[in-house]
Structures are given as C-alpha cells and as structure tokens.
Assembly symmetry: C2
Homo-oligomer: 680 residues x 2
C-alpha cells in the first residue's frame, strides 16, 4: 500500500482518518489488549461517513431522528470510541480512551450500549450487529409510517466484517432485509481478506457480492481507502430502493508492519512498529495527542447536525400537544394508562368464565386486548403464527407495501427474528414480541443473551413449552430450556399456569424497560386455576399461595405452568387422605427471588414436606427445595430426567411420571421417611 500516495491525494481527509488510527494504536498499546487492525482498516470509510453523511449531533446522542451507526464488527471498538471522542461526545472523553478496557471505563473491550449514550448497541458476538440493524431499519420504517417523515427520516449504517458475514445469523438478517426492501439500511463490508486464523480463503470463498444480490440487495464494490469512492457509494446507496451493501476493499492495520496479516487483527503493541506506522501517517504528536486543527475539524463534524436537529425540534414543537405527548410516550416506552384496567378486566372475565385453553391461546386472548391499546407493539413469529398465536386482529402485515402493518412474517429465522427485535427495542418507539417453539430458544440464544446484557425489554413468546407438545418428539420438546433461561442474568422467565397468570405475565413483560421476558406457554389445554378474581398482579411477586392446606399443613407443592394443575389435582388426592397440602404457583422465579425474605418464608414456610412439579429438568429447583436460612425440608422433585419422546401428550405425562398420583405418592413417601428417589 502506498501510504504516501493516499496521504497526498487527500491530505485533510487523511489526517482525520489518521487520528482514528493513532488513537487506536495508543489505546490498544496502553491496554496491552484489543484489536488494532480493524479501526485502522476502516478509518477512511468511517471518516467519510461521519463527515459527509451521518446525520447526528454529538451534543445530543438521544436525538430520535439521528442516523444509527452500528459497529457489527464490535472487536474494532476503538473505531467507535475514537469517533465519539473526536466529534466531542460528552461521555467518551480522552480519559476514557486512555482507560480503554479497564475496570469502570465506558470504553469496554467491545462497545456496550449501556456504558455510553451514543453507543447504539452492544456488539462483539459476530453477526449480531448486522442482524440487529435490520430491526433498527424496520423500526425506522414503522415509526415513519406512524409519525410521519417530518419526525422520522433516518438511515441505519453498519460496519460488518468477514466474521459477521460468515455467521449464519447474517444470512437470516440479509434475506429478511432483502424481502422487506429496507432501503434505509446501508452495510459496509470490511473486505480485508483476513480473519484470526489467516487469510479468509482458508475457510471461505463465498462470492459475497453475488450472495447479497441473491438476497435482493443493492451492491457496490469500492476501494475502502478512497474517500471519493466511499462518498459516491454512500450517495448511491441512499438512493437505492433496496438495502445496500458496499463491499469496501481495505487493508487491515493499514500502514503498520502487520498490515494485511492476521497478526494485524489483534493487539499491535510493539513500540517501534507503532512509531513507524505513525511516521508513515505523518502523525507527529505524542500518544493520545490529536493535533488541534484535526480535532477542530472533527468537532465541526460533531456539530454538523445541529442545524438539522434544531429544525427537527421546531417541527416537533409545531405538532399538536397530543402528538408530541404520544411521540414522547412511545419513545420512552411508557405504558398507556389504560393498560392496568384492561388487564384487570380480562382477568376478572376469565376468572369467572374459567376457560380451559392452552396458555398460548391465553396469550392470544391477552394480545387481543393489549395490541389495540399499545400501538407500539410489533408482533411476529418465525413461521409458526398459528401455533404461537401471536397474530391478532387488525395488526396488518408489515411489508414493503404496508409500513403501518404491525405483524412480521419472520420466516424460519428464529435467530434473525430475535436479533431484529433487539434492534427495534434499541431504536426506540417499538415494543417487539415474537414467537417460536420454546425448544428453538436454542437457535435464538445468542440474541436472547444479548437482550439481557443490553437491557432491552424484548418479549420472546415461546410456545410448546414441554413434553406437553406430544407427538413431535424430543427434538421439539424442551426439557432444559427453563433452566437455560433462568440461568441467564437479567431475564424474566414467565411460565404461567392459566389465562389469568398469562395476562399478569404479559402486563409485566410490556412494562419492563430494562429486562427481556420469556413467556413459556403450553401447547395443551389447561384448566383455569385462578378462579377467584384478584385485582393485584400476583405474578409480580414471582410465587404465591394458590391453595392452602385446609387442616394442618403437611405438604407443600411448588409448580409452574402446566404442572400447577397437576399439583392442584395432587392436592385434592392428598387432602382427601387428610394430608393438609399447600400449592404454590411459581410463574417467575426471578421476581420471587426479589421479594424480601419475610414474604418468601410466608409462601414457603419451613416444616412441611416439599415437592416441586415441573415438566423440565431439576437443575435449579434445589434452591427452592431448601428452606430459608438453612432449614432444609424433606423434599422431592417430579419432572423430567432426560429427553422426552414422541407420543400423545397424556401418554408422555403418564410414562414420565408427571401426574397427580405420582406427586401424591412422592409426598406420601417423604412423609413415611422414605428417601428413595428424592435425588431424582
């Protein structure tokens, strides 16, 4: 690479881009870890994007109509930190740059949306950024359709690397974006031909241009170090009616001894080589020092959008008070006042009518009343609409002909759906929910984890939540998935027992602002167990006494979801035998854990024999089979001890021993002091 030629061709541009390269080298060297090569390779693209195209105002990172910039290749985090510092972001200061990757710094190893206002999303797990960006672009279209182009009129820009494009989720994302003709989405592919293991060719020879074209994208190929080509390509991309991919041929670690090698991907810390690279750049200031004129140019870029933002603010103020309030409410994600009353009314109605329905159907009943009062919801399913019961009346289909539609046919793309939903939630103004089978939580895992880490309230509607789905067999029968979701920090896992609990769970899910929710719902019909109407949301406490012992309390049954009615039937058997039995419904462990010890002890008092009933694995249940403060109760577990099987649901419950009689027998055994089997 002829660095001198690049420098002399566009000296001002060159120095602006060199600022990114130099800061990256300095920060990585100080941290003795990180990824130098990617920011150094993509500095030219980022510089042109920020200078000429990105609509933003560095002083107002929350401006709702800003363009979004997603660094899908999140390991190159110094690119984003450099851009923020240079343009005058209030949070990413020079001190933060110097503290790259240190405890308490905003400049984490990978960009974290919760550490700086101007970081749109956490990235790092490859493929997630490009996949979330589809959700950003969908949210923009939906918000524009709802509030008009005077308030919503922006683009989503993404930098993706070879890693992002090799991850399967990127295929789900680009085909979804292609189908949806998301013309405001522009992806830069950092085509540097290098991965950690060596040349890309070692592992991949995909014709990416052809692949994106096959997915319905507008594609251009440019020299990623030529500012004119970059500018022209972005201009053309913005005009395209399709989502746009710009393949940027770049040199990783440009100008460094490690240029164009896999070594260049990682931390370049050799002092002499750094000095040589800086010399080649014509960069003569000391570590972390940006020449004043260069910094001034960058700060001007940071202010470039101020005027547009002022105009936007004026347009907003020109709107009716009602529209302004609704726009603000929608962006804030605040629930409308009607929500609580609506849920209460539904609860009252179903407590009285006591339907016997699957909780996936209960969920649909709830959505039928929620969706009309929550215009910010966008629902969907990964090709299981009729099974997940996620579509309600009047939502309409979201597609290129109807951006007001609020239902997305995601196709068989659980992972892409989950990531897109995260993107919508991050964009703001949308409360996304989407369905698949609970077992296929597996496919969506990386995005579900990211929702929890990023603190976004995505709602995952996971139906067919146990062997109760029957004949489809063990590939479709979740047994470990409740444990998986419960093990994940900052995730509410709801497993409601009937329509009342489902309504309560939905109320909690759509009022979260920093926590995703998983709704584990049954395929099979379940009786209504909450037949006595309570206005209070009992699910909000995580667990509560559903039915108490009539006489002396000798047994305590804990259950969730479809097994609550099994526990209730076991209680009937035991009470008839004179064994006083309490049933505790535990629709959400995480919320119960948050209650004070006094409440937990009131619900789960010491003394009686304890049996947990859940058609999943035991892992995690021992925490509740304990008493509080070290008083351990005689206890047992009725549930699954391995994978399921293919047969009708009732047969499976019988064969796997998850029945009222088996539960009652476990209690009798424990009362008799028979500890056989309690380990299982």
């Amino acid at each position: 690479m002829d660095i001198d030629a690049l420098r002399s061709a566009n000296p001002d541009h060159w120095m602006r881009a060199a600022a990114i390269r130099a800061l990256t080298l300095d920060a990585v060297a100080a941290a003795k870890s990180g990824h130098s090569g990617m920011p150094m390779g993509m500095a030219d693209v980022a510089t042109v994007l920020y200078e000429k195209h990105l609509k933003f105002d560095a002083s107002a990172p929350h401006w709702p109509d800003r363009d979004r910039f997603i660094l899908s290749a999140g390991h190159g985090s110094m690119l984003i930190y450099s851009l923020l510092y240079l343009t005058g972001d209030a949070q990413i200061t020079l001190d933060e740059i110097k503290n790259f990757r240190q405890w308490g710094a905003r400049t984490a190893g990978h960009p974290e949306n919760f550490l700086a206002d101007a970081i749109e999303s956490t990235t790092g797990p490859l493929g997630q950024g490009i996949s979330m960006s589809v959700g950003f672009a969908i949210a923009e279209e939906a918000m524009r359709a709802r509030f008009g182009a005077k308030l919503v009129d922006h683009h989503t820009y993404v930098i993706a690397g070879d890693g992002c494009l090799m991850e399967g989720v990127s295929q789900e994302a680009i085909t979804l974006a292609g189908r949806q003709q998301l013309s405001r989405l522009v992806v830069f592919w950092d085509n540097n031909s290098i991965t950690i293991d060596g040349k890309v060719d070692l592992a991949d020879r995909t014709d990416q241009v052809k692949r994106f074209e096959a997915a319905g994208w507008h594609v251009q190929e440019i020299d990623g170090h030529n500012p004119e080509e970059i500018d022209a390509a972005i201009t053309a991309a913005k005009k395209s009616k399709q989502p746009s991919m710009i393949a940027c041929k770049t040199h990783i670690a440009l100008g460094h001894a490690a240029q164009d090698t896999s070594k260049g991907h990682g931390a370049l810390t050799d002092a002499d080589q750094m000095a040589e690279a800086k010399a080649a750049y014509g960069w003569t200031t000391g570590p972390f020092e940006v020449p004043e004129d260069v910094k001034a140019q960058w700060e001007a870029i940071g202010k470039r959008g101020a005027e547009a933002r002022d105009a936007w603010e004026a347009r907003l103020e020109g709107m009716s008070a009602g529209k302004q309030a609704e726009f603000a409410r929608t962006l804030a994600g605040t629930a409308p006042k009607k929500l609580s009353a609506t849920i209460k009314a539904l609860k009252k109605q179903v407590s009285e009518s006591a339907p016997s329905v699957a909780t996936r159907k209960s969920s649909e009943m709830v959505l039928e009343v929620l969706n009309p009062i929550l215009p910010e919801t966008i629902g969907g399913s990964a090709d299981l609409t009729g099974s997940n019961n996620t579509l309600t009346k009047d939502l309409g289909t979201f597609d290129e002909t109807n951006r007001k539609g609020r239902y997305i046919y995601y196709g068989i793309r659980e992972h892409g759906m989950a990531a897109a939903m995260n993107g919508m939630a991050l964009h703001g103004g949308i409360r996304p929910y989407g369905g698949t089978f609970f077992c296929f939580t597996d496919y969506a895992r990386p995005a579900m984890r990211l929702a929890a880490l990023m603190k976004v309230p995505t709602v995952f509607v996971m139906t067919h939540d146990s062997i109760g789905l029957g004949e489809d067999g063990p590939t479709h029968q979740p047994v470990e998935h409740l444990a998986i979701c419960r093990a994940t920090p900052n995730t509410l896992v709801f497993r409601p027992a009937d329509t009342v609990e489902t309504a309560e769970a939905w109320e909690l899910a759509v009022t979260q602002d920093g926590t995703p929710s998983v709704l584990a719902l049954s395929r099979q019909n379940l009786p209504t167990v909450r037949t006595e109407h309570k206005t209070k949301n009992l699910t909000a406490q995580g667990a509560y006494v559903l039915a108490d012992a009539t006489g002396k309390r000798q047994a305590l049954l804990m259950a969730t979801g479809s097994e609550v009615s099994v526990a209730m039937a076991a209680r009937d058997i035991l009470e008839a035998e004179g064994i006083g039995t309490r049933v505790v419904s535990m629709p959400c462990w995480e919320l119960f854990e948050e209650q004070d010890e006094a409440y937990r002890k009131r619900v789960l008092p010491g003394g009686p024999v304890r049996v947990a009933v859940e058609a999943g694995v035991r892992l995690g249940w021992d925490r509740w089979l304990f008493g509080e403060r070290g008083k351990r109760e005689k206890s047992g577990f009725v549930g699954m001890h391995g994978f399921g099987s293919s047969a009708p649901a009732e047969t499976l419950y019988e064969k796997f021993g998850i029945t009222a009689e088996a539960t009652a027998q476990k209690v009798r055994d424990l009362l008799m002091g028979n500890w056989q089997e309690t380990r299982r």
Copy 2:
C-alpha cells in the same frame, strides 16, 4: 397439476411413488398428527434416488460404504419410514408404520437415529440435517483418503426444505461445503414455495440458485415430479467437482385438496379428501395396504445393492488383517490400547513438573500426545485456532488438496462446525473435536443439544471459560454456560482444574461412545493442583477430595476449574487459622452424580460448613450445597451474580469477589452463624 398425465407418463414409477404418498396419508391419519405434504411432494425424487442411485442394501443398514441419506426436512419423517418399510428394512415394519408417533414406536414424529439402524441422523430442528451432511461428506473424504476408495467410496444425499435453507446454519454449512469442494454431497431442495405461515414469498424472496452458486456449488433446476429429469440431475450431480444442489420444483401434498397450500404442510386427516387423493393416484388398496407388485418392485430396490456389498466385503477380506482390524477399530470408535498408558505418562510428567499454564494450553499438551495415537481424530476451530489451542503438530490442513489433513479451518461458523462434527461422528470412523470460546456455545447450542439427543461423542473444546478471559468483556464472558451445558441431558461437562485433570477429561471424552463432551477451559494460567501422581483417573468419579482438613474438618470447599486453586488458597488461609478445611474438586458433576451414595457421602460428608466456588452463576449448585438424605449443611456460594465486565482478569476476580480471602470470609461467616448473603 395434471395427475393423470404424470401417472400415464411413467406408470410404474408413479405407483412406486404413490406407495409413499398413500402410506404417508394413512399413517398421519391414524396418528391424527404429523406432516403429510412433504413426503407427498418429494415422493418422486426419493423414488428415483432409491431406485437408480442410492447405494444401499436394505438388509445391511450398517454397511460402512453405503450412501448416506439425510432427511433434513425431518418433519416429513413418513418419507423415510415409507422408504424403509417398502425396501424391506427389518426394523421399520408395517406395524411400526401403523404406530407412527406412538409411545415405543420406532416411527417417532421426527426421525431419530437411535430408534432404527437405517436412520442416519436425527432431524427436525431445521437446518441441522443439511449441516450435518457436510460432516458426513467430510468424513467420507477423510476415510477414503485414509483407507482407499476400495473401502470408502460413497455419496451423501440430502433433502432440504425452505425451512432448512432459511435457517442461518444452512449458510454456514453450504459455504463450508463450497470451500471444501465436497463433490460427493448432493442436496435436493424441495422447492414447493410453501411454509407453515403461507407462501414462502411472505417471508423470503431469496434467489437460492444464485445463493448456492455464490457459495461455490453446482446447481440444477428441475421438475421434481419428472423422473427422467430427476435421474439426469442426479447423474450430473455425481459428476460435478463441486457440491451439488438440485432445485426440485414440487407441489406440496401433490394430488390432495390441500396441494400447494400451507394446510398441506401439516396433518391431512379428512377421510373424503384422502379418498379423493388416492383415487387420483389410482391407488385402490385399503389403508396401509401396498399392492403386491408395487411392494415387490420396492423390495427389489432394497436388494439392488447386495451385489455391490458382496464385492465390497470381498475387497475388505482381501486386505491385510492389520488393515481390516484398524478399519473395524476406527469404525467402532474403540480407543487404541496405547491410550491409557499415554495419558498416565503425561499425568506423571506434569504432576512432577507442575507447570502453571492455562487449561486451554493443557488441552493442547494432551492433544499433542493423543492425536498421534488416535488417527481418527479430526480437529478444528471456528477461527480461533491460536486461542483454542486445538491444532497440534503434523495434523495437516484438511482441504480439497489434502484429504489426509486432520485439521479443519471452520471459519467463523460455530454452529456449522458443531453440526458438521455431529455428522462426522454419525458417519463413523471419525472422532471430531472443535473449538470456540465457551460463550459462543450459544451459537452452537442447537447442534450441541442434538449431539446429546443423538448420542454421538462429539467433543466441544470451549476455551475462555469465565471472566478469567478479562478485557474482552461480558459479551465474551460466559457466566450461565456451565449451567446451560449441565442442564442438557446426556452431556458430560468437564471443567478441569489443571493439566492433570485436563488429561483425565480428554481420556474420558475420547472414550465415550454415546455421549458428547464439553471441555470448559481457562484462558488464564492456573497452577498445577494435582502434584501427587495417581494412575487412577480421578475425574472419572466426577468429584474427589483434592486436599483434606489437617485437623477437625470444619469447612468443605467445592470448586471446579480455575476456582479450584482459589479454593486451595482459601484452605491455606483457613487452616492457618486452625479451621480444618477440605477441598473437593468437581470437574464433572454428571459423573459424580453417577457414583453411588456411599462415595458421594465420603467425598461430601455431612457436618462441615460448605462453600462452592465457581466463576459462574449459582444455578444448579444448591444440589451440592445440600447434604445427602436431607441433611442440609450451612452453606454459601462464591461466584457470579450477573454478567461480567471488561477489565484485566485479576481485577475482575477481585471486583466480583471470587478470591481466596472472600471464600475464607464466607466460611468464617457461616461458622459464626451469619446467614447474611448465603442466598447469593
């Protein structure tokens, strides 16, 4: 569709294919569940494949040189059951067909490899079959390179639907297959334009032909109901030097009222409509009845390969006894005799030299001695070779120029890698292992679960197993992943503490024949804790006493992996204070669980205060914080309570309180009767 024209054009073929359609209709109707449309749509393709191309002998489903047939669209399981019954498979009898989807039947809702010898792999979770087939094709190439084309010379045929192709993992699979030029792989795409939610167009407009071409595949487009076109396409595919995709335009639920509709995807049980369809087929026999001449034709097809198999057997018998024995050993997956001595020698050496190394490095040390004596291993990494330490000397790179290479650069394709490994293990003759970061277990989850369900001994080398990876931050720091893997049935989760335990874990992993293993390995250096050499594999017991209390036992510390040395240091502190402390290393919960109660009680006796130390979430640990038989000990947990953070590893351990001193303090608190915090 003009059924009459199809019938009259190829009457014999038609009736053979109609047998599949009629059996499918009957079985689904009897079960009142299942998927009728796909077998009805792909019956012609399957018939021609079995009749003219597939190398198999129905009487010998284990013949090692048979062609493999993978039904990636596993919901169409009646296709495979019909084919097996018709060709005379000994296990899939007519009774089994009649018991479709019932308890105890081999004819589960989705094909299960462990229920019938002739079912090559479990499928159903979409995209898995096509992705495993890449592993089948790799295994064939590798085995052919090792044993010669006289013994190994077969193809892998796959039927994939739109669902398989929409799943992201399929992109990882097809690009890997394209890069590897797996010319023996032939995929039929059931291009019926229908998914569960409706027309494919609702969710997807991908040009699949172009997409496969972009990945380096040979592609043909045919009428999937025209036997001549099918035959010609398969012939051409077999000649191609690239993997081959045949886009078969078909009609789902051909000839039924539900043809070409999403209703046709599911269970077609209406008696009148079934009768109409059968009449259109010219099918006049009763339910489950195949006309004798049609059955005879199919049985002849089932015997078609007998001659080739005889010839193959003769070739095998003509080989040297040594080659025959090695071929048999390799296929059986039996460990060579040298294995045990090799592991013991390494253990002795490292117990003496007591290196301080990361367990990922320990793993490399083990592989350096294992790979030379296990020629059946094929290693690899999802683009983290230098980090996972999965490459050893002399393995060589497996690619189109070197099929004897035993190391695969999988690229950034964790999911595709895991599925391909499963395919290799299913094919037989290969013991696959592959690495990525433990956190990216998330990406590979669906395939890891399938390994457990299918009972294949795939080895997942998961390095960077905790916050101990440091600066990369929470996106890369697993906290819930030990719980996730432990929650999964039939999975051995090893978290070794040092090189000795790593050697023991590897010995166990490579001698499994029905259980996958996860090796959770540290990025950071760890001291050798097993400094006293024992020939016995202590990890095989799952947990054992690493160091006992010198005086009265007052505390018992349980730990795994990198926290074992933390527990040992805590023991030093406590013993110095006169608090007798035992340390139990628990490298594999599952194996400990399998020990008898007497052993478990010996290792974890009642009485002392118990503290578990693990840099992961608590979920699951309560099972061990219990005593046996209901005697609950005073106990506490030192570990993670949420996501990690970006900072140097030592800082993180300090900040998150996972230190020897914090562990000692927890013991002191418990001994003082202070129950604060024990819930955490």
